[in-house]
Amino acid sequence: MRAAGLVLLVLVGALFFYSSAELPPTGDPGSPPATHVSPRYIEAAYKETGTINLVTAVLADYRGYDTLGETVVIFTAGIAAILILAGLAERREEP
């Protein structure tokens, strides 16, 4: 287990450093994330959503469905915690 973990670690690390040089440099205004999709959020968000906070515009409007999912995640966690903590182990399920 431990050895397998270390092998995994080395593999993943190698992947990261293999690719790091080709990732867009930090702050590059010409990188794909900066030039595709996002400009519209910045330029049109106020017009289209009426908020000056662009993150809010994306979060609550353009990608509002993600945020619905986000709240559902919280709800799920709450219910899960209730189930896990409230129920003592069922007799029948106990092997």
Binding site: G5, L6, A34, S38, I42, Y46, L54
Partner: protein, 125 residues
């Protein structure tokens, strides 16, 4: 001005190290709480990776300055990763919450959070 060459990629190295640190902790540590903490470290590194992508030299934080209703894209950093990461943070938080609930129950049953001891107790019964 975007930093070039090595300097521009140092962040990625740091993030990679953080990720690997988390992964290392999850595979190697024996205490379940420590595993959980390692998991959180790993998740944080991913969040930082996304936020790093959002950076734009010369851009400011993505809230429109007063009166600027027709902004230039170059003037603000990319808001999308921030929005995504808010969601990711919540997911990570929720996972942690469920994990802690599980740990509470494990501790109540087995009286320990050391993985070896738990496995031994499960086998011994």
């Amino acid at each position: 001005m975007a930093p070039d060459g090595l300097i521009g990629h140092l962040n990625y190295w740091a993030i990679a190290l953080l990720f690997l640190l988390g992964l290392y902790g999850m595979t190697v540590l024996n205490n379940l709480v420590k595993k959980l903490m390692s998991m959180n470290i790993m998740q944080v590194s991913i969040i930082m990776f996304y936020l790093n992508l959002a950076q734009k030299a010369g851009g400011t934080f993505p809230v429109l300055l007063p009166g600027e209703l027709h902004p230039e894209a170059a003037a603000y950093v990319n808001p999308l990763p921030h929005a995504l990461m808010l969601t990711a943070i919540v997911v990570s938080l929720a996972t942690t919450g469920v994990a802690l609930a599980l740990l509470m129950r494990i501790y109540r049953r087995y009286g320990t959070l050391e993985e070896n001891d738990i496995l031994r107790r499960m086998a011994g019964r």
